[in-house]
Symmetry: C2
Subunit: 253 residues, 2 copies
DNA sequence: CGCCCGCTTGAACAGTGTCAAGTGCTGTGG
DNA sequence: CCACAGCACTTGACACTGTTCAAGCGGGCG
């Protein structure tokens, strides 16, 4: 039905020690329930809701977030192409947060029924999916660090370093530039800051010639300095050190 | 070797929809590699280190943390009795953070070899272990919310609400009091604050008659007000709503 | 053309950090 | 038994980071 690797092409690309087998890839490809396009800023899953399918993001950006009492959002995760967006819903059954698109996206969806049948007799595949949910957890931890220990400049810089590195792994960085369909308000929600202050931070980063972010395009101007400001160490992304992969450069440290 | 449920007694207690079978419990009990006592403030795993065993916390408190450039720590997780401390190391193989004891602890350890043999032919057990690592991820997300959206009072209050609720599930709350072998400096590291400010927050919570925390004992004075200040909604802890469990009260909302 | 949304800027203010000093308890050695 | 050292905690004064409130700008789209 779907060409081999059409859907899973970017999944776990460059991550971890281990790899999906060709058979596992084929099985995932053929058991996809459907592929859908969704518009920007659409809520896909509501917190507390029972979930019976999980999706992989093929194109675009999605986010997961929680609301505070005043209705302000705190993003708790960003998903980029190749990420399983809500695979954790398979063991958890319901989610503790909302899931929404940022820009327009294309997603592939599996029913939990199909996934369960697929993984039950396949410990290795199960392990790979488990691993992918733990990558998200590792990123969560780094976000805790970011919010708990970095100042505003560092937070925004760190966020950008992470995005650059993750997008690089799936081939979505061109030279020193990458597309990021975020408003300043979205950055604010990701970094625990106000829009006004994010604006000032971006100006500061631009004036210090570290990074330019304008109209959804981020341009890295001085990667080493940005990394230093962000105290960014990509080891939490579990990037495969050696690589027989198609040229996917991995942001230097 | 170990009496049934001696080790796993508190594991996943009151959590989630599903449950370990008696057989699975027995298998976990009999495959424990060893049980150890460790002193307070001992580092157990270093970030980046290859890990070949995972431990369940039987008594005491452990934490996971990351260091910033200046050497200050940011706690990214607290483990309480019944938690698998570093089970995520099984799929991840190495960890992106340090693991240490807070007070003195007792832990049970399984080799990854044993766990792998155990889970390979057992999809349901695998699922339960996967689930338990995702509970940690859900807590991570709530910590992101806590740090991103709450002020200092709210953060400390939220932290205390979470501890109270989690400890309640494993029977470690007596009335409105529970032991928490934390220094104010530890709270600071968990809440992204300075020690000085944690001290002021604790005074404020005490004076407002919400919570008293002194010499490692937390006393809830006004739970509803504390919960409100913390914007605490325990649904992220995936507490089992119905319960045929031995009387384990679950902090009211 | 004009409106709206996202971005930008300024000024005043609040919350938290920093620095510095001091208190009180506990354990230890004289 | 007391003195003292060390550590956790406490408090005050002040600086600074980030927020709040308010206003203005600019470009894309109906």
């Amino acid at each position: 039905m779907h060409k081999l690797q059409q859907v899973t092409e970017k999944f776990l690309r460059g991550r971890g020690h281990d790899r999906l087998t060709t058979e596992e890839i084929g099985l995932l490809e053929t058991t996809v329930d459907r592929i859908r396009d969704l518009p920007a800023r659409q809520i896909v899953v509501r917190a507390g809701q029972r979930v019976s399918e999980s999706s992989m993001l093929l194109n675009g950006f999605m986010c997961r977030y929680m609301d505070d009492r005043a209705g302000y959002r705190q993003l708790v995760a960003i998903q980029v192409p190749g990420d399983f967006v809500d695979l954790h819903a398979l063991p958890l059954e319901r989610l503790d947060h909302d899931v929404a698109t940022v820009g327009p996206v294309r997603i592939a969806t599996w029913t939990h029924e199909a996934l369960e049948q697929l993984i039950a007799p396949r410990p290795h595949l199960t392990r790979m999916l488990w691993f992918s949910t733990l990558l998200d957890a590792a990123i969560h931890r780094e976000w805790i660090f970011r919010l708990g220990r970095l100042d505003a400049d560092g937070r925004v810089a760190h966020f950008m370093c992470e995005m650059k590195t993750r997008l690089d792994m799936v081939g979505l960085v061109e030279g020193d530039r990458f597309a990021l369909p975020f408003k300043q308000a979205d950055l604010a929600e990701a970094c625990g800051l106000t829009v006004v202050h994010v604006n000032r931070v971006l100006r500061s980063l631009r004036e210090r010639e570290l990074l330019v972010f304008r109209s959804g395009i981020a341009t890295i101007v001085n990667w080493p300095k940005l990394v230093a400001l962000a105290e960014f160490d990509p080891s939490y992304l579990y990037i495969q050190p050696s690589t027989e992969l198609p040229a996917v450069s991995v942001g230097s440290r």
